[in-house]
């Protein structure tokens, strides 16, 4: 291995490459798991039908087949589109998803990069997707796309605020912004002096959890906040002109982000990967499984709302964010701050 300035660059690049490959594998895996379990199966069973049954056992390979089909499709550019921006937009959206995965811990050592500002970083990069959506809407040269993109921009900016403010309560209580630190703070916590299962923040931050779920729903542009892609109004919103693998990127971005947000929710409020009484290597093995189960629980709520509710109107959505969610989250922060000082 070549040593330069005392740093082993070969090992550095090898680890970096490994991390990139892991995340690049995680995004489609997460998207497929959520897509299959919730979009295809849970929705179907809610609607008294079976959903896909042919591809693989119980239709489990349907999304893989769909993905392969999308890759084979022609890559169509609308005639009057801005070709470069049109092509770049799905990648920008996927990039924001990619960056989200970096800070999520799945075990004591299973974390890509334990940033001190972990949750701050995650929320910051999650709003990068707005840029991609705006690019897509503008470059498509389609009126529906443009309306969809502008709706998405307005919505994502409005709901960024309650999302951040909902998380502030947790940060105050944990005293750190590192996601690994937040998991440890929950693991070390005690419920009325009993430290058996730690103290998952959902017990103290239940308002924060509810706000987080609602705001995450809006960030993911899922019903009841799916105006940017409202299919009965805007055909498919900013995705209208996309076909083939570029559409696949948007799909993966949507469900990959849903997976990441569920993971963040599970980490912040449900105790993350922590298993009581398990440490060391065993925790690294059990951690991802526990986190996975919690992710599915959070995702279940997100998709349950998605399949049950009609969508709000744009102005009602803004009123809901500014008049209800933000005051409520500020109250939550104030209450958390006071209680933190008192106890």
């Amino acid at each position: 291995m070549p040593l330069m300035l005392g740093v082993d660059f070969g090992a550095y690049w090898a680890t970096t490459l490994l991390k990139v490959v892991v995340v690049l594998g995680l995004i489609p895996a997460g998207a497929i798991i959520l897509g299959y379990v919730f979009l295809l199966k849970m929705m179907s069973h809610m609607q008294s039908r079976l959903g896909p049954m042919e591809a693989g056992p119980h239709g489990s390979l349907q999304l893989v087949a769909d993905g392969l089909k999308f890759i084979q499709k022609e890559d169509i550019f609308p005639e009057r589109s801005d070709r470069f921006v049109f092509a770049a937009a799905p990648i920008v959206v996927l990039m924001s998803t990619f960056l989200l995965y970096i800070v999520i811990p799945a075990g004591p050592r299973l974390i890509i990069e334990d940033l001190d500002t972990g949750i701050f970083f995650a929320l910051a990069v999650s709003s990068l997707s707005v840029l991609g959506i705006l690019m897509a809407g503008w470059a498509s040269a389609n009126k529906y796309s443009l309306i969809g993109a502008l709706r998405a921009a307005g919505q994502l900016i409005a709901y960024e605020l309650p999302l951040v403010l909902a998380v502030v309560g947790v940060v105050i209580q944990a005293g750190t912004m590192s996601l690994q630190g937040i998991v440890m703070a929950q693991a070390d916590g005690e419920i009325f002096g009993v430290g058996l299962i730690g103290n998952p923040f959902i017990f103290t931050q239940f308002i924060g959890f509810a706000l987080f779920l609602i705001a995450a729903q809006a960030e993911l542009t899922q019903a009841p906040f799916d105006m940017p892609v409202a299919e009965s109004e805007l055909v498919a919103g900013y995705m209208t002109e996309y076909t083939g693998f570029r559409f696949l990127f948007f799909f993966m971005g949507e469900f990959g982000t849903a997976f990441a947000f569920s993971a963040i929710g599970a980490t912040l409020f449900l105790g993350g990967w922590y298993v009581p009484g398990v440490e060391g290597t065993l925790a690294d093995v059990l951690g991802p499984l526990v986190l996975g189960a919690k992710i599915m629980l959070v995702a279940f709520f997100i998709f349950w709302f998605r399949f049950s509710y009609p969508r709000l109107r744009e102005d009602q959505l803004q009123a809901f964010a500014w008049k209800l969610l933000i005051p409520l989250s500020l109250l939550n922060i104030a209450a958390t701050g006071v209680l933190k000082v008192v106890f």
Binding site: M43, M46, Q47, S48, R49, K143, Y144, I147, A223, P224, D226, M227, A230, E231, S232, E233, V235, F307, S308, Y309, P310, R311, L312, R313, E314, D315, Q316
Partner: protein, 390 residues
Amino acid sequence: MAVTTDWQKSAYIAGQAADARVNVELETEGMTLNLGPQHPATHGTLRIVVRLDGEQVVWAEPICGYMHRGYEKLCEVRTYPQVTTLINRIDWLGHFANEVPFILAAEQLMGIEAPPRAQWIRTIFFEMARIANVSLFLGDMGIQLGAITPVFYAFRDREYVLNLMEAATGGRFHPNFDRLGGLKEDLPRGWVDECHGVMARVISFCQEMEDLLMGNEIFQTRTRGIGVIPAAVGLEYGLSGANIRASGVDWDLRRDEDSPLAWKHCDWKVWTHPDGDSYARYWVRLQETREAAKIITQLLDGLPSGSIQAKVPRIIKVPAGEAWCHTENPLGEMGYYVVSKGGRGPFRVKIRSASFNNISIVPWLLRGVYVPDVITILASLYFILGDIDR
């Protein structure tokens, strides 16, 4: 823009006016958006040109005729029994209900009347067509507002009604069961018992829709106060059916018109709602579906025995004359004005279909609303494209 027709001209002027009233300081300009002919919200090929200022509609204009099939002309080159096949397809969800007014008009010209059993079975099928039609609306309203699940419940329970139709008539979508002076066949054995079960299911479906969709807060904020039609305006535009009853006009041809069909033997209620908004239209239709199920249950219990066919000649020739017959179809008032010159087919048929008049209010109703409300209003007005374009 090549200005060729009157509406294009007025649209162009309104567009210019829209641009003039948007913010001069920010140099914004209006945008013309074509909703349709291919658009998910128009269930068919209705085109609505809307001029937008941001998300607000400045003016809107429905353009129909993309699915015009020339039924009135086609009726003239067919014999009376052949016409029923054709007019089944006008309102394709309320299939059987299309046949009835035409047959009644022809029977009126011939001076015959179907025996009581045939009239009762006609009424049963008429109301079943109403359930098949309106139950789909009850679910579809949800999907237009973004709730995906209700429409699947609607399809699920509608299936039972269609199965019954198929068992009796052989056709799920186009029964073509009505004959001059009676019906094609009698009901199959066991049909009545099964129908009782299905009607109980329809009533529970209505309850489910009330719980799942109508009680939903978001549904209420999206529909209450949206697309309000005052009774006077609605009457001016010739609205009929649930659309006008939701504006508080107590008018139902089933009760108000003297018809040979069997509604007068049943105990049922015409529902009205004072609000006239999208919510009221949904509410009235939901109650009507319930009433239809109740009517069918009562008719099944008191079904008279006897023949199902009056005596008619093998080759039907209708005496010269003119007749007008209209009924309260699932979408509203539907009528046929039949002119006969004594031949085997009608000389002229004028079809009055409900949806054509119901969407005439769209330009008045859409002015100044937001784009999502355009969808709510169109969905709540509830039209079938075949019923608009014929």
